[in-house]
């Protein structure tokens, strides 16, 4: 998963009639607005360097007009950079000749366009099969495969319609199916879900994640929907005015925005769904390691704990309330701790999203233990943590408990 | 000049003269233009047009007023009707000895086969005149579609029984086509046999020998049979002399007696016309240049056509 597949180095793009003349201005750091005003040229990208790894879903976000589409179009060289390199699998794609470029586009990449880019004179089915047609796949085979994808995107019955007869979202799905139908290694998806309703959208998201997991496709995905980005993205890059502001894993961006821009960007996200338990849980302070009731009581008394998690060499055992143990007869102290001694089983997994654990956490008197698949106690989740994470404020640093409450 | 113009110009304001596209007609039109403008103070406009368009227009509209050189054989029906209806009238012959229509072969062929100068020789060497458009046949180039000579050619073709010798009468489509076929043949020294007429610049340029058909011209037979569409039994005859007339619209003739007098007398013979055409050909001159050349070089020819004062006025303008 860590091999670099697409690498971009010092990419500059200036739109206009004589970009080379004014590229120095962009390098000198003049603002996009100034450059536009002075030269009539629009700054598309400024000094972008990136590394996209094989098999990841890489999400690109940013304000409208920040250069996302421009960037993604460089990857299959629909746009030539004003300066800089785009390297795919070690190959600088600017050095490809026409035939190589064609082969590269056929095999390596397929793209979903922001404005769909459907062939108005092809039926839906022919549109979907277009990538295969280009590769010379026999008509029957490509129709079959296209039909499969047509059904997958929920357009069964529309195969003989023309794009102009479809609704916006249906057209977008045709574009999507067309890109998926080619089995290209890298999928470039420019706001590929923007016209879809939530149901189909989440289906498509699942499908995408499945594709990536099963077939190890690399997916470069532009979206304006932070929830979506957080849900499917392995890493997220944030652009502003053609510059790369931050790249990182979703939680990282959410919890450690580098500046106000990113912070305001992520402010509105549905944290309950975006954040997983491990990103907000606290290290366990109330931990004992006992086998018998006596040991447990002793340890708890020493540490002055009313409540503790018992973790021994077999991993997490359960939560213990001291009061309850102390009610027991001393004779039982030497007994092994058993089911009855533990609190009713309420554990959450570190990978759960917060939304899934809201009720458990709120219902529980004490912080909920966070236990991973191997049965190891990873941390605890208190109501306070949850409230803090869910309220609209960003958490400056989840490691250190902050007291700020709205 | 002014005084002359004033005295003469009372009824001659706007005159239109047809300028046909072949050289002699163009020459005439320009000569008339210069003389009418400078001698009679007319305001002259030349309008181009081919024979029929001009004739029709004259008959139906009275414009152009003057057709200085009209080969009337070609439009005889229309013209006669116009005369009958009082729309146009003949004024004088612009070619005093008439035009010469004939069948021709190039001189270089006659040099090679002297017998080609006769119809018998042509028949004998029929195989020379290959028709590329219809392999296996020989070709006699006829007269363009719709021209009156087309009918005459067809009838003569029948009379000469050329078809029996493998000839086919080919329609060149237009005067230009006909001229082109001669030019091509001549430039490449290829065989050519067909109809043309003189005086023309073309025949000045490409030396041709007229084919002796072995019979006299017979105007009577020509006008009753050879020149008619439904001629039952044509005889071989030479072409009679072609009438080349100056024709004016009655509208004009009734208004400009002085000019009419001039038009009635002015005329050139074939010899001089050929000379002039040769000069024009040599200089690739158009009618206008030719006209000035004529007026400058041959005053003795044209001064008698007009009164003295007019002649002086014209000379002054040259």
């Amino acid at each position: 998963m860590t091999e670099s597949l697409v690498r971009v180095e010092g990419l500059y793009k200036l739109f206009g009639s004589t970009p080379n003349k004014f590229i120095e201005k962009a390098k000198a750091g003049e603002t996009k607005t100034d450059i536009l005003k002075e030269t009539g040229h629009t700054l598309g990208l400024r000094d972008i360097s990136l590394d996209i790894k094989r098999g990841e879903i890489f999400v690109i976000m940013g304000l409208s007009g920040s250069g996302k589409s421009t960037l993604i179009r460089h990857f299959n060289r629909l746009i030539d950079p004003t300066e800089g390199k785009v390297i795919v699998e070690g190959q600088d794609i600017m050095t490809l000749n026409e035939a190589e470029l064609r082969e590269f586009r056929r095999v390596k990449m397929s793209m979903v366009f922001q404005r769909f880019g459907l062939m108005p004179h092809y039926t839906v089915l022919e549109n979907i099969a277009f990538g295969l047609q280009v590769r010379g796949v026999a008509k029957k085979d490509r129709s079959e495969k296209a039909m499969q994808w047509l059904e997958d995107v929920g357009l069964k019955g529309y195969e003989d319609q023309y794009p102009s007869q479809l609704s916006g979202g249906q057209q977008q799905r045709v574009g999507l199916a067309r890109a998926l139908c080619t089995d290209a290694e890298i999928l470039l998806m420019d706001e590929a879900f923007s016209a879809l309703d939530p149901l189909i959208r989440s289906e498509m998201q699942d499908q995408l994640v499945e594709l990536q997991e099963k077939l190890h496709k690399t997916i470069i995905f532009i979206t304006h929907d932070l929830d979506e980005a957080l849900r499917i993205g392995d890493r997220i890059a944030i652009l502003r005015d053609g510059e790369l502001i931050q790249v990182g894993e979703p939680a990282d961006i959410l919890l450690n925005p580098v500046d106000d821009y990113v912070e305001s960007f992520v402010r509105d996200v549905n944290r309950a769904r975006a954040l997983t338990v491990d990103t907000v849980m606290q290290p366990v302070k109330d931990r004992i390691s006992a086998h018998t009731i006596g040991e447990a009581i002793k340890q708890m008394r020493t540490s002055k704990l009313d409540y503790a998690y018992n973790v021994n060499e077999d991993g997490y055992q359960g939560a213990i309330v001291r009061e309850q143990l102390e009610e027991l007869d001393k004779s039982e102290y030497s007994n092994e701790l058993c089911e009855d001694n533990y609190e009713p089983e309420v554990v959450v997994s570190p990978d759960d999203v917060l939304e899934a654990v809201i009720s458990e956490t709120l219902d529980s008197e004490y912080p909920v233990p966070v236990v991973d698949e191997e049965g190891q106690l990873q941390g605890e989740l208190s109501r306070g943590n949850l409230a803090e994470a869910l309220s609209a404020q960003s958490l400056q640093d989840p490691e250190t408990e902050t007291d700020s409450k709205s | 000049e002014d005084s002359v113009a004033e005295s003469e110009s009372h009824q001659c304001e706007n005159v239109t003269i047809a300028e046909m596209t072949w050289s002699s007609a163009s020459l005439w039109a320009n000569i008339d233009k210069v003389i009418l403008e400078n001698g009679f103070g007319c305001e002259v406009e030349l309008v181009p047009g081919d024979t029929l368009a001009a004739t029709t227009s004259m008959i139906e509209k009275g414009v152009p007023a003057i057709a200085p050189e009209l080969w009337t054989n070609g439009v005889v029906d229309v013209l006669e009707k116009g005369v009958e209806d009082g729309k146009v009238e003949y004024v004088g012959r612009s070619l005093s000895d008439g035009g010469q229509e004939n069948l021709w072969v190039p001189k270089y062929m006659v040099d090679q086969y002297p017998e080609l100068a006769t119809l018998e020789g042509v028949k004998k060497h029929a195989a020379l005149f290959k028709n590329p458009e219809n392999p296996g046949t020989s070709m006699m180039m006829g007269c363009p579609a719709g021209w009156n000579c087309q009918i005459a050619n067809e009838n003569l073709f029948r009379a000469m029984e050329l078809a029996d010798y493998g000839f086919e009468l080919v329609d060149p489509g237009s005067g230009a086509g006909l001229a082109g076929s001669i030019a091509k043949a001549y430039e490449r020294k290829e065989p050519w046999f067909g109809y043309y007429w003189a005086p023309t610049a073309l025949l000045g340029k490409y030396e041709m020998v007229s084919v002796d058909v072995g019979a006299e011209a017979d105007l009577e037979h020509y006008s009753t049979c050879i020149g008619k569409l439904d001629c039952e039994s044509p005889r071989v005859i030479s072409f009679p002399v072609a009438n080349v007339w100056t024709v004016v619209s009655t509208e004009f003739s009734s208004g400009s007696p002085e000019v009419m007098d001039y038009l009635a007398v002015r005329s050139l013979d074939n010899a001089l016309m050929n000379k002039l055409l040769a000069w024009m050909e040599d200089n690739q001159a158009n009618g206008e240049i030719g006209a000035y050349e004529f007026l400058e070089s041959y005053p003795e020819v044209w001064t008698p056509w007009v009164s003295e004062e007019v002649a002086t006025a014209i000379k002054a303008s040259l």
């Binding site: - | 072949w22 309008v47 047009g49 001009a54 509209k61 414009v63 152009p64």
Partner: protein, 295 residues
């Protein structure tokens, strides 16, 4: 069973009388109304004469200056303007100035007339399929009926001369601009039209602000073709009494003067190119950036 090899035909006498009837009918018509029709066209004729005289009377240097100026104003291209100037000087130098002015005069009027009539007709045609169905065959006839054929009646009606020439040229040259205006408007993106409609445009506003600008490339192609065809008719016009560059061409043909034909033909071509480049450059300049400058 002669019909097996011979197509059943009207016999000769039937044919003749049919032809005679038509001919006589037309000639009768001409005698009766010719005068009226001629008078109707009188102002046009006067204008044509006036315009030609004007061009001829203008000193050559002034004329060249004016033409270069017009080119410069329309096209804003120094290269083109200089080219026009040089071409005109060459024409003058080779002795074709007067004929060129005559042709320029007629063709200017013909082209303007064709465009001024053609574009509205094209617009009308684009409005309804029914109109299109009616007009299309008329255009077909105008373009393929040999000019000579309709020139016969026109000459009978109006005589030879400028008006007949103008009618012949306009009839022949007008169809492309009509057809391509129609096509261009029909090809305008439906979405844009719909957007305009949603703001309540009148049909005039729709036309001016959306349809015509977006149909411009096609309309300009039509104008280009119209100019080309008008100029290709110069020779035919000179067959019925229009002076200008056509006449020397005709003379050249009859005498097989290659050079004379070529020179005068080239002058016609030069006029065509001037007309075309100036109109195209003007259109392009006044047109907006539709395609965008994707790189």
């Amino acid at each position: 069973m002669s019909w097996l090899t011979e197509i059943p035909q009207l016999d000769r006498s039937g044919m003749t009388s049919l032809k005679k009837i038509i001919d006589e009918a037309f000639k009768g018509f001409s005698r009766q109304y010719g005068e009226g029709i001629e008078n109707f066209f009188k102002p046009l004729l006067d204008f044509l004469i006036f315009f030609e005289k004007l061009l001829l009377a203008t000193p050559w240097w002034l004329m060249i200056a004016i033409l270069v100026l017009i080119t410069q104003l329309a096209a804003r291209s120094v290269k083109l303007s200089v080219g026009v100037g040089v071409a005109l000087l060459c024409i003058g130098f080779l002795g074709m100035w007067e004929d060129t002015m005559r042709t320029l005069s007629l063709i200017t009027v013909c082209t303007l007339l064709s465009i001024l009539i053609g574009i509205p007709v094209g617009i009308l045609m684009s409005r309804s399929d029914r109109t299109q169905k009616v007009i299309t065959p008329v255009l077909d006839i105008m373009q393929t009926m040999p000019a000579f054929v309709y020139l016969i009646p026109v000459v009978i009606l109006l005589g030879i001369g400028r008006v007949s020439g103008l009618i012949a040229v306009v009839i022949y040259a007008i169809p492309p601009v009509i057809r391509l205006t129609n096509l261009g408007i029909r090809l305008v993106d439906k979405e844009v039209i719909e957007a305009a409609d949603s703001y309540g445009v009148t049909s005039m506003q729709r036309l001016w602000s959306v349809q015509l600008p977006l149909a411009m490339p096609n309309i300009m192609a039509g104008i280009n073709q119209t100019i080309m065809m008008a100029l290709s008719m110069v020779v035919i016009a000179s067959m019925i009494g229009v002076r200008g560059l056509g006449l020397p061409v005709l003379q050249a043909i009859n005498n097989q003067y290659i050079a004379q034909g070529l020179l005068n033909g080239s002058a016609i071509v030069v006029l065509a190119i001037i007309f075309d480049r100036v109109s195209q450059a003007y259109a392009k300049r006044s047109q907006h950036n539709i395609g965008g400058q994707n790189d």
